[in-house]
C-alpha cells in the first residue's frame, strides 16, 4: 500500500542506454500497466523497481523513501514472474511460507497468512502438492499467493500470463482483476506486451517505446487521445490507419485533403499558420463507415475480407507498391463487398491528425 515516485530514472549497460528520463508517479491503489513492444525496456524498468537490476541514474522512491540502494527484500515489494519461479523442491505451502520463514515469523502467523492466501486463490486442496503436480494456471496462482502472503506495499507482475494458453489466460486475467478489486488499497505494477491485458486491467497505462515513456494515461485516454503516431498505432487492434495529407481549412475544425484523393474534417482546432501543413490523418478501422456521398475519406478496392459474423474486416488494396493497406471494420456481415470499390468516411470527432509523428492535440 504505497506511493511510488520515479525521477529521471536511467538504465545503461556500459555505454548502451536502454532507458532514460523515466519520470512517473504511481499512487496507492493504482494498477499501472507497463506496455510496449519487445525490447522497449518494460521488464527492465520493473526489475529496477524490484531491485533485481541496479538503477544507473535517477531516483526511485517508495513511500517517500529513496530505495535505490536498498535490497529487494526490504523494499516491501513482491514479484510474480513469467515462468512462475516456484521452488520445485517445496510443496505449495512451503513455497508460500518461504519468505515468512526467512523473516522468522511465528508458526501461527505463517499458517494464518498462508491459509488466507489459499482461500483467496482457492488453493486449499493443493497446499501439500509439489509444483510439478499442478497445472500452469494453478502454478501461477501459487506464485501470486506467494506474493499475497508477504502483504507487500507494491505487487510487481512480470508478464504473468504469457506462459498460459489462450483460454486460461483470459480466466487468469479476470482472476487478477478480481484480486485487485478485493484489495483496493494495494498498488500493483503489471508488465505485458499484450494490449488487451493492458486495456482491461489497468487503471493507468504507461506506454514505453524507444527507451523512454511515450505516453501515460487511462486506457481510454490513450485510445481516444494518443499523443503520437506510435501510441495511436500501438493501442487498438487492428492498428490505426495513417493516410498522408495536407491541411486545407483551419479554425475550430480542420479540413484535410488527402494525397489519395479523399478529404475529411476533424474536430481539432488549428490556426491560419497551419494552412498547407503536411499531416498524417489517423482513423481507426472501427471508426470507418461506408458511404455513398461525395464527401469521402478514402476510396479503394476491397482486396481481402474477413467475415467474423459480428463484424467484417476489409483490407483495401494499397494505393502504391509497398504501402500498408487500409483496414476497415464494418459492423455486421458484408461478404458481397469483395473486389468492389468502397468509399469510407469517419465522424470528425474520431479523426486524429499528426505532424512529424506528434498529435496536433499535444503540440
Amino acid at each position: 500500500m504505497a506511493d511510488l515516485k520515479l525521477t529521471d530514472v536511467e538504465k545503461a549497460y556500459g555505454e548502451v542506454k536502454v532507458l532514460s528520463d523515466i519520470n512517473l508517479d504511481i499512487q496507492q491503489g493504482e494498477l499501472v500497466v507497463f506496455v510496449g513492444p519487445s525490447g522497449c525496456g518494460k521488464s527492465t524498468l520493473l526489475r529496477m523497481i524490484a531491485g533485481l537490476e541496479k538503477i544507473t541514474a535517477g531516483e526511485l522512491q517508495i513511500d517517500g523513501m529513496v530505495v535505490n540502494d536498498i535490497p529487494p527484500s526490504q523494499r516491501g515489494i513482491a514479484m510474480v514472474f513469467q515462468s512462475y519461479a516456484l521452488y520445485p523442491h517445496m510443496t505449495v505451502r512451503d513455497n508460500m511460507s518461504f519468505a515468512l520463514k526467512i523473516a522468522k515469523k511465528s508458526k501461527s502467523e505463517i499458517d494464518a497468512a498462508v491459509n488466507r492466501a489459499a482461500d483467496i486463490l482457492q488453493l486449499g486442496p493443493y497446499l501439500d502438492r509439489l509444483p510439478k503436480a499442478l497445472s500452469g494456471g494453478q502454478r501461477q496462482r501459487v506464485a501470486i499467493g506467494r506474493s499475497i502472503v508477504r502483504d507487500p506495499k507494491v505487487y510487481l507482475f512480470d508478464e504473468p500470463l504469457s506462459n498460459l494458453d489462450a483460454a486460461l489466460r483470459v480466466a487468469t486475467r479476470i482472476e487478477i482483476a478480481k484480486l485487485k478489486e478485493s484489495m483496493p488499497n494495494s498498488t500493483m505494477i503489471y508488465v505485458t506486451h499484450d494490449q488487451v491485458e493492458a486495456m482491461t486491467l489497468a487503471s493507468r497505462i504507461v506506454v514505453l517505446a524507444g527507451g523512454g515513456i511515450a505516453q501515460v494515461g487511462t486506457p481510454l485516454e490513450l485510445y481516444e487521445r494518443p499523443n503520437g503516431e506510435f501510441v495511436a498505432q500501438f493501442i487498438g487492434s487492428p492498428a490505426m490507419n495513417l493516410l498522408a495529407g495536407e491541411i486545407v481549412g483551419t479554425g475550430a475544425q480542420t479540413r484535410v485533403k488527402l494525397a489519395g484523393g479523399g478529404s475529411a474534417v476533424a474536430n481539432i482546432p488549428t490556426t491560419d499558420a497551419d494552412m498547407g501543413l503536411k499531416v498524417n490523418l489517423g482513423a481507426r478501422p472501427e471508426d470507418l463507415v461506408a458511404t455513398d456521398g461525395d464527401d469521402f475519406l478514402y476510396a479503394g478496392e476491397v482486396e481481402l475480407l474477413e467475415a467474423l459474423g459480428e463484424l467484417t474486416v476489409l483490407y483495401f488494396k494499397p494505393e502504391s507498391e509497398g504501402a500498408a493497406p487500409v483496414l476497415a471494420k464494418l459492423a455486421g456481415i458484408h461478404t458481397d463487398l469483395k473486389g468492389r470499390k468502397v468509399k469510407l468516411k469517419a465522424d470528425p470527432s474520431k479523426i486524429h491528425l499528426f505532424h512529424n509523428k506528434v498529435s496536433l492535440l499535444y503540440r
Binding site: 524490484a50 531491485g51 533485481l52 535490497p71 529487494p72 527484500s73 526490504q74 515489494i77 513482491a78 514479484m79 514472474f81 513469467q82 515462468s83 512462475y84 519461479a85 516456484l86 521452488y87 520445485p88 523442491h89 517445496m90 518461504f98 519468505a99 526467512i102 523473516a103 506467494r146 508477504r150
Partner: protein
C-alpha cells in the same frame, strides 16, 4: 614391422571389422535368410526386423559376456580353491580372511576412504563450482582444479611423494616444519592420520570431476527461482542451501556415488605411496599383495570388493536414471 604401423593396422582391422560385421551380417539377413521378395515378402520383412536388433547387439553381448560375466563366475569358482588351485576348500579362503588382522585393518581403512573421499571431493567440488560461478577468471580457476583429473593415479602419487617427502629440501610439509623449527617427520608413517594423507591425493584428483558436473547443474537452475528467493529475503547462504542445493540434490547424489565406486577400486595410490605399510592397506591394495602368490585368497578379496560395490552401483544407476527423466 614398426610398432606405429602395427598399431595403425590393428585400428584399421578393428574398426573395419566392426563396420564389416554390421554391413555384411545385415546384408546376409536381408538378401539371403529372409529375402524381401517371393511369396512371403511381408512375413520375411517382419522376421528380419525381429532378428535385426539381436544381430546388432550380439558383438556387445558377446564381449560383455566374455570379459565381464564369465570372469565373475570364474573368479568366484577360483576363490573356493586353495593356493595351488588344485584342492577345493569351500569357503576356507573367506574364513581365513576374516580372521586376519591386516584384512580387518583394510576393511576399516576402506570404510574411512568411502566416507571421507566422496564427501570431501563432492563438498569441495560444490564449493568451487559455486564460488567460481560468476567470476571473470572462474574458468581459469576451474581448469586448474580440473587438471589433476588428467593425471594417472600413479603420477599423482609420485607428485605427492615429493610433497610428503621427509627431506625438508624436497617436501613442502617438512620444509614448513623446518622453517618453524619443528623436527622433520615422515607424514606417511604417522599412524592413522597417514590414511588421510593418502585419501587427500584422491580428493585432489576427484574434486575437479565433482566441480565440473556440479557446476553444470548449478548453471541449470532457473535464474528466476534465485531472484524470487532474493526478493523473499533469503541471504546468499539461504539461497545456496535452501534453493540451489535442493534443486541439484539428484546430481549431488550421482557424483557422490560415482566417486564412492571409484574409491572402492583405487589401489594405485596406496600401492605407490606406502605399499600398504604403516597400517594403510585398503581392500584393493590388500588384494594385490596376494595376487600371483595365492590366487584363491586374492579372488576371495576381489569378490568381497564386488559385493561392497554392488549396492552403491545399483543406487547410482537408479539415481542417474531418475536424473534423466
Amino acid at each position: 614391422m614398426s610398432p606405429v604401423f602395427q598399431g595403425m593396422l590393428t585400428i584399421i582391422i578393428g574398426v573395419g571389422g566392426c563396420v564389416g560385421y554390421f554391413y555384411f551380417s545385415n546384408m546376409l539377413l536381408d538378401k539371403v535368410i529372409f529375402p524381401a521378395k517371393g511369396p512371403n515378402t511381408g512375413r520375411n520383412i517382419n522376421r528380419a526386423n525381429q532378428v535385426r536388433p539381436w544381430l546388432f547387439l550380439f558383438p556387445a553381448m558377446f564381449a560383455l559376456g566374455l570379459y565381464l560375466a564369465y570372469p565373475v563366475v570364474g573368479s568366484f569358482w577360483r576363490s573356493l580353491f586353495d593356493r595351488s588351485g588344485a584342492n577345493f576348500i569351500g569357503l576356507g579362503n573367506y574364513i581365513d580372511l576374516f580372521s586376519e588382522g591386516t584384512f580387518r585393518t583394510a576393511v576399516i581403512n576402506n570404510l574411512l576412504w568411502v566416507l571421507f573421499v566422496p564427501a570431501m571431493a563432492t563438498f569441495l567440488g560444490l564449493l568451487v563450482a559455486q564460488l567460481t560461478d560468476r567470476l571473470s577468471w572462474g574458468n581459469i580457476a576451474k581448469s586448474l582444479i580440473f587438471m589433476p583429473m588428467a593425471i594417472s593415479f600413479v603420477g599423482a602419487s609420485l607428485i605427492w611423494k615429493f610433497v610428503y617427502s621427509a627431506n625438508p629440501d624436497i617436501g613442502i610439509i617438512n620444509s614448513i616444519r623446518d622453517a618453524m623449527g619443528l623436527a622433520v617427520l615422515d607424514p606417511l608413517q604417522v599412524r592413522f592420520w597417514n590414511n588421510f594423507f593418502l585419501m587427500f591425493i584422491l580428493v585432489w584428483i576427484q574434486t575437479g570431476f565433482a566441480m565440473v558436473i556440479l557446476s553444470a547443474a548449478l548453471r541449470g537452475i532457473p535464474e528466476e527461482t534465485i531472484e524470487a528467493a532474493i526478493i523473499d529475503g533469503a541471504n546468499p547462504f539461504q539461497v545456496f542451501f535452501k534453493i540451489k542445493v535442493p534443486q541439484i540434490m539428484g546430481t549431488i547424489v550421482v557424483v557422490w556415488t560415482t566417486i564412492t565406486i571409484l574409491v572402492l577400486k583405487v589401489f594405485d595410490i596406496v600401492y605407490t605411496m606406502t605399499g600398504g605399510n604403516f597400517g594403510t592397506h585398503i581392500l584393493p591394495s590388500y588384494m594385490m599383495t596376494y595376487m600371483f602368490r595365492d590366487d584363491g585368497r586374492a579372488t576371495a578379496v576381489a569378490f568381497v570388493i564386488m559385493l561392497l560395490v554392488l549396492p552403491v552401483m545399483i543406487w547410482n544407476i537408479r539415481q542417474a536414471r531418475n536424473e534423466m527423466r
